[in-house]
C-alpha cells in the first residue's frame, strides 16, 4: 500500500549441470525478475540456449502454422492438460498433425486455384455464345486474319470499302453487339486501323479451348461443381481435425512456449565454461521460500545470496501493491508511468478521488445505474486484464454517481424530489419534498446552487493539489533531503495556502465593492505566507520559477470543470426531456394531445437524446477526472520512470506441471 513491493537483489550461482533444474525451479515459482547480463568479460560470456531450444521453437513454429491453418481461437479450450503427458509424445503428434493438416490445406489451396481458373475460363467463353462457330474455328489459319470483339456500328459496309472478300459473323452478348471477321492477311493493317479509330470497339480473346461454347460451358460447370464438392469435403475433414485436436494444440502451444522460454533463459545469464551466474530481483518476503525450494530441487548445489542494494534505484523492478479495491486503479498509474522504487504509489488516492470527481460530474441516478450495469456486464465477460480493471473503475464510479444523483435529485434529468426552480414549482418523480441530511436540504439542484458548488470544486481542488504537494514533499525528503523538499514543495504549499487565505478575504470585498479589510489577521497572515513562499521558491529554484506561479492558479481553476461538465450533462438531459415532453403532452398538458405521431416522435427524441448524453456522460467525466489526476495532481509529486517487475515464468492457463 502506497509503496511498491519491497525487492531484494539476489545472485544465483552454480555449476552448469545444475542450470537446467535451477531454471525449472525459478520458472515454476514465477518470482525472479532477471537482470539481463550484457557486459561480457574474458571469464564470463552470455550463456547459450539449452540444446532443446531449437527443437522446441521448431515445433512451436509448426504448431502455430497448423493452428493458423485451422483458424483456431485461443479461448476454445477449457481443459487442463498435464505437462508431462504432453511432452511424452508431442513430437510424434505434431508431425502427424502437420502431415494431415498441411496436405489437406495444400490440396484445398490447389482446388481454390483451379476453381478460379475454371471460373475465369467460363466468363471468357460466354461472349462466344452469340456467334454460331465452334471455338477452334477462330484460330489456326495461314492466310486469313481473324478479328473478334464488341462493336456498335455497321461494320459490314465499312469493311466493304476495304475489300469485298471477307466473312463477317455478327451476334449479341448481354445486349452488346459482337462480331467475328475473317479477312485475307494482306488487309490486316487496314482493318486494324479502321477498328482502332472506332471507339465502341473492344477486342476479345479466344480462350484456349476446343468445341462448341455451350458444350464447353456445360463441361466447365460440371468440373466446377466437382471441385466445390471436393473442397467442402476437405473443409469438413479439417473441421473434424480442428475439433479433435484443438485442446491438444492449445495446450501444446502453451507447453512449448514455456519450454522455449526456459531453454532460452541462459541468454540472460553470465556463464563461464563450467558455471553460471544469474543476477536478479525477488520480492523480499518471498526470499526464504525461494531459498527453500531451490535447496530442495537442486540438493544445495545452486547458491543463492542477497546483495545489499547499493545500486542505481532505477534498476529495481516495480511491483505495485494495493488492497483489492484499489487494484484496478494501478492501470491508470501504469498508463501514465511506472513509479520509481522510493516514490509513493498513488493508486489508493486515485481510488478515492477518481470516482468522486466522476460522480460529482455525472451525478444522476439513471445514468449512474446504467454505468454501473455496463461495468458489471464487462466484468462478467472479461475476468482479467486491462478491460476488467477499467470496468471495475466504471462500476465504482457508477455507484458513486448514483449516490450523487440522489443528492442532486436527478433521474435522467427529471427531478426526483419536488423543487422550486427560478420561482416555479416543479413536481418530482417521487412527489415528495427532499429530506434534509446533516443540515443540507436535498436536493442540491445544480442550476440553482452554482455558486456554492463552484466554491466546493475550488475547495476540492485546493485540497487535492495540497495533497499532491504533501506527497511530493515526502518523496523529496526520502530521495534528497529536507532542505530540498522545503525549497521545491514546501514553498509551493506556502504560496498556495497563503494565496487562498488572502484571496478568500480579498474576493468578497472586491465583489461587494466594500473597502479592503487590510487589518484582517487572516489576510495579513495569508499574504505573509505567500511572500515567504515566493522568496523560498526564488532561493531554491531561481527567478525563472516565478513563471510557474500562474500555473498554480490555473491548476485550481481547472477544478471548475467538475461543475461545468456536470452542468452540461444535466443541461442536455433537461433539454432532451423538455423537447420530448413538449411533443408528448401537447397542447395544454394533454397526453398525446398532438396525436400519436408526435408522441412517438417524442419517445424517439427522448431515447436518442439520452443515449447520446449517456455516451458523453461516460466519456467526459471519465477523461476529465483522469486529467485532473494526471495534470493537476501527479505533476506535484510524480516522477515515474521505474522498471516494471516482470518475473521469469508463465501463468499457465491450459497446462499444469
Amino acid at each position: 500500500m502506497l509503496k511498491p513491493t519491497r525487492m531484494t537483489k539476489v545472485v544465483i550461482a552454480g555449476t552448469k549441470d545444475q542450470m537446467e533444474p535451477a531454471i525449472s525451479v525459478f520458472h515454476r515459482l514465477n518470482v525472479l525478475h532477471i537482470t539481463d547480463f550484457s557486459k561480457e568479460t574474458e571469464d564470463f560470456k552470455i550463456g547459450r540456449p539449452l540444446k532443446t531450444a531449437s527443437k522446441f521453437s521448431e515445433y512451436l513454429l509448426s504448431l502455430r502454422a497448423i493452428s493458423n491453418q485451422l483458424e483456431l481461437k485461443e479461448s476454445e479450450s477449457g481443459k487442463i492438460t498435464k505437462s508431462i503427458e504432453l511432452s511424452s509424445d508431442i513430437d510424434e503428434k505434431i508431425t502427424k498433425l502437420q502431415k494431415e493438416v498441411s496436405s489437406r490445406f495444400d490440396e484445398l489451396r490447389n482446388i481454390e486455384f483451379k476453381l478460379k481458373e475454371k471460373e475465369d475460363l467460363m466468363s471468357s467463353v460466354k461472349p462466344f455464345f452469340g456467334l454460331p462457330l465452334s471455338l477452334d474455328s477462330y484460330t489456326g489459319y495461314e492466310s486469313v486474319k481473324v478479328f473478334m470483339g464488341y462493336i456498335d456500328i455497321d461494320l459490314e459496309s465499312k469493311i466493304n470499302k476495304i475489300h469485298s472478300n471477307f466473312e463477317l459473323f455478327m451476334g449479341e452478348h448481354e445486349k452488346r453487339k459482337i462480331f467475328a471477321l475473317f479477312i485475307p492477311k494482306e488487309f490486316e493493317r487496314e482493318v486494324q486501323d479502321l477498328l482502332q479509330e472506332e471507339r465502341t470497339y473492344v477486342e476479345l480473346k479466344v480462350p484456349p479451348l476446343k468445341g462448341n461454347p455451350p458444350i464447353i460451358l456445360d463441361e466447365l460447370k460440371k468440373e466446377i461443381s466437382n471441385l466445390k464438392e471436393n473442397s467442402s469435403s476437405l473443409e469438413t475433414e479439417l473441421d473434424k481435425l480442428k475439433e479433435e485436436y484443438s485442446e491438444f494444440i492449445i495446450a501444446a502451444d502453451e507447453h512449448l512456449s514455456i519450454e522455449t522460454q526456459k531453454s532460452e533463459a541462459p541468454l540472460r545469464f553470465a556463464t563461464s565454461p563450467n558455471a553460471f551466474i544469474i543476477d536478479g530481483w525477488v520480492p523480499s518476503n518471498k526470499f526464504d521460500e525461494i531459498e527453500m525450494e531451490l535447496q530442495k530441487s537442486t540438493g544445495g548445489k545452486v547458491y543463492l545470496t542477497k546483495i545489499a542494494p547499493e545500486i542505481d534505484e532505477k534498476e529495481i523492478p516495480i511491483e505495485l501493491e494495493n488492497p483489492v479495491a484499489a487494484k484496478p486503479f494501478e492501470l491508470l498509474i501504469n498508463t501514465f508511468a511506472t513509479p520509481k522504487y522510493k516514490e509513493i504509489d498513488p493508486s489508493l488516492f486515485l481510488f478515492v478521488t477518481y470516482p468522486l470527481f466522476y460522480a460529482l460530474m455525472l451525478g444522476d441516478v439513471g445514468y449512474g445505474l446504467i454505468v454501473t450495469a455496463i461495468g458489471f456486464f464487462i466484468i462478467r465477460k472479461f475476468k482479467t486484464g486491462g478491460l476488467n480493471a477499467l470496468a471495475l473503475i466504471l462500476l465504482i464510479s457508477g455507484l458513486l454517481s448514483t449516490v450523487f444523483g440522489v443528492i442532486y435529485g436527478e433521474f435522467f434529468g427529471f427531478p426526483i424530489f419536488n423543487l422550486e426552480f427560478k420561482g416555479e414549482f416543479e413536481a418530482g418523480i417521487l412527489g415528495i419534498a427532499g429530506p434534509a441530511i446533516a443540515g443540507i436540504h436535498l436536493p442540491v439542484h445544480r442550476f440553482e446552487s452554482v455558486k456554492p458548488l463552484l466554491l466546493l470544486c475550488f475547495g476540492i481542488g485546493i485540497f487535492h493539489v495540497i495533497l499532491g504537494y504533501i506527497i511530493g514533499f515526502r518523496n523529496q525528503v526520502i530521495m534528497h533531503d529536507l532542505k530540498h523538499a522545503i525549497y521545491t514543495k514546501g514553498s509551493w504549499m506556502m504560496i498556495l495556502i497563503g494565496g487562498v487565505m488572502a484571496i478568500a478575504k480579498i474576493m468578497p470585498a472586491l465583489m461587494s465593492k466594500s473597502p479592503m479589510p487590510t487589518g484582517d489577521p487572516i489576510l495579513i497572515l495569508g499574504s505573509g505566507l505567500f511572500f515567504i513562499g515566493v522568496i523560498i521558491l526564488i532561493i531554491g529554484e531561481g527567478f525563472i520559477s516565478l513563471l510557474e506561479l500562474p500555473t498554480l492558479l490555473s491548476n485550481i481553476l481547472s477544478y471548475s470543470r467538475i461543475l461545468a461538465i456536470g452542468l452540461s450533462s444535466a443541461g442536455i438531459a433537461l433539454a432532451v426531456n423538455k423537447m420530448a415532453m413538449n411533443l408528448m403532452i401537447k397542447p395544454d398538458g394533454v397526453l398525446m394531445g398532438g396525436g400519436i405521431v408526435l408522441a412517438l416522435a417524442g419517445i424517439v427524441v427522448l431515447f436518442i437524446g439520452h443515449v447520446i448524453n449517456l455516451l458523453l456522460g461516460i466519456l467526459g467525466p471519465g477523461l476529465h477526472s483522469l486529467r485532473l489526476q494526471y495534470v493537476e495532481f501527479f505533476t506535484k509529486f510524480y516522477e515515474g520512470g521505474g522498471t516494471k517487475y516482470l518475473p521469469f515464468g508463465h501463468n499457465r492457463k491450459y497446462t499444469e506441471e
Binding site: A337, V450, L454, L557, S558, A564, R627
Partner: protein, 74 residues
C-alpha cells in the same frame, strides 16, 4: 438587472467561452498531433503526451470560469 443587461451578460458569457474554446483548440491541435506521433513511436509517451496536450486547455477553463461568474455570481 433589466432584460438588456441580462442579455448583454449572456452574450458576454458566450463570447468568453467561445473565444477561449477556439484559442485552446488552436493551441491543442499542434501539440495533440505531435503527441499522437510520439505515442505511435513509443506508447510510454501516453502520460507525457496527454499532459502536454491539455496545457492550453486551461485557457478554455479561464473562459468558462469567467462565464460562470458572469451568469451565476453577479
Amino acid at each position: 438587472m433589466d432584460p438588456t443587461q441580462a442579455g448583454m451578460v449572456a452574450i458576454g458569457a458566450g463570447i468568453a467561452v467561445g473565444l477561449c474554446g477556439i484559442g485552446a483548440g488552436m493551441g491543442e491541435q499542434a501539440i495533440g498531433a505531435a503527441a499522437v506521433g510520439a505515442m505511435a513511436e513509443d506508447e510510454k509517451f501516453f502520460g507525457k503526451g496527454l499532459l502536454m496536450t491539455v496545457i492550453p486547455e486551461s485557457i478554455a477553463i479561464f473562459g468558462l470560469v469567467v462565464a460562470l461568474i458572469l451568469l451565476f455570481v453577479f
